[in-house]
Amino acid sequence: MIELDNVAYSYGGGELLSGLTLRLAPGSFHFLTGPSGAGKTTLLKLCYGALVPTAGHARLFGEDVRRMDRDAIALSRRRIGVVHQDCQFLDHLSVAENVALPLTVAGEGGGDLEQNLIELMTWVGLKSRADALPPELSGGERQRAALARAVIMSPEVILADEPTGNVDWEMSQRLLRLLVELNRMGKTILIATHDLGLIRSAKTQVQARVLRISNRKLQAAGVDL
């Protein structure tokens, strides 16, 4: 679904990532870890076409990112749900409207989807907060709203960047359960996190592969972590 083939990336200085090869197979569950500043967010951006590799090839659903025009990139974002590290909501819209935003910009809407939205809000436990504005949400609520927005288009792949970044343990377990549930429904999941505890508890629920960025390269992390 998403393939990185000998990819390198640099923001202009030295190479941040180099010689990366990664294949996200349908239905797989991956963790991406590494110290802060290692390039996890950068790698995820390469995976959803926000960045173009400075060397090598990135392919989204078989199409080389370098050959995709802007509209193709936009359309691919409807098939890849992204939970961004900083969430990024439109603060003047309600939580429900923010969650439905991908539908709005895709020009979709209507009774059926309305029901979907309510179910989704219930699933992430935000039904009672649907009319709140994003700045009124707690950290955990924001992360769950971001997850709801990432999955509303029924994407095949979900990329989550530090989805448990600033929430307590209880909430991070709850978010993890949601992601595991999505994986059981057949979605491909990639979670970037530096929270090793989260990875450990995930391993009891799902068969997950752990990748670590170190020395600009991607390595399969050992079972011991």
Partner: protein, 215 residues
């Protein structure tokens, strides 16, 4: 009279009646003027036709045959005024061009500012899968409608002001006749449409530029 009627270029020559003379003098001397008691000369109205008459020749002949007659050619003092009116019209056309340019610049600046202020919104829209077309349309529509509304109000106010101007009647003459006549009223209707078109183009260009920086 006969002499005037025989002069080539004269369409008609007609002696003004006493009432008409009185009406002409009234603004200056008041209505109670006893015209009969005053040595007011008899006025004869001459209306030109074709290329007009030979003023100098007519004057000479009048002098020979009717020594008291004076020929007063109105076109002589009217000509600079007609020229001034023409200049005024040119000035108007140039100002319209300048105003159109200023509107385009203003709308472009406003669109750029609004798009910059909304850069965050645009980035989010882009992140959740909005195409450039969707984003540009959303902003272009808003700006075009706004420009259309503003220009319509402006055009209505302008047309209203012109309606209040003295009408270009016979007495007012061509200098005060700034109002539109007949089909010329189409022009103020064009103003909002042209402004909207300018706003549309300016916003579309500005939106594309902001989006170009964003993947």
């Amino acid at each position: 009279m006969r002499l005037l009627q025989q002069t080539p270029g004269v369409a008609s020559a007609r002696a003004l009646s006493e009432q008409e003379q009185q009406a002409l003098l009234e603004p200056w001397f008041g209505p109670d003027l006893p015209l009969a008691d005053l040595p007011v000369p008899q006025l004869i109205e001459i209306i030109e036709e074709g290329d007009g008459f030979d003023g100098a020749g007519l004057r000479l002949r009048l002098q020979a045959e009717v020594p008291g007659a004076v020929l007063d050619d109105h076109t002589r003092w009217r000509r600079p005024l007609v020229a001034a009116a023409g200049k005024l019209r040119l000035l108007g056309a140039v100002s319209i061009l300048l105003i159109a340019g200023a509107v385009a610049a203003m709308v472009t600046l406003a669109a750029n500012a609004a798009l910059a202020a909304n850069a965050q919104v645009i980035a989010v829209l882009r992140l959740v899968g909005a195409t450039d077309g969707f984003i540009a349309r959303a902003f272009v529509r808003r700006f075009t409608l706004r420009a259309l509304g503003g220009a319509t109000l402006g055009a209505l106010a302008g047309a209203g002001a012109l309606l209040l101007m003295p009408s270009a009647g016979e007495t007012a003459g061509f200098l005060t006749g700034l109002s539109f006549v007949g089909w010329h009223w189409v022009f103020p209707l064009l103003v909002p449409l042209l402004t909207a078109a300018v706003a549309f183009a300016a916003t579309a260009i500005a939106a594309r530029r902001v989006l170009g920086d964003l993947r």
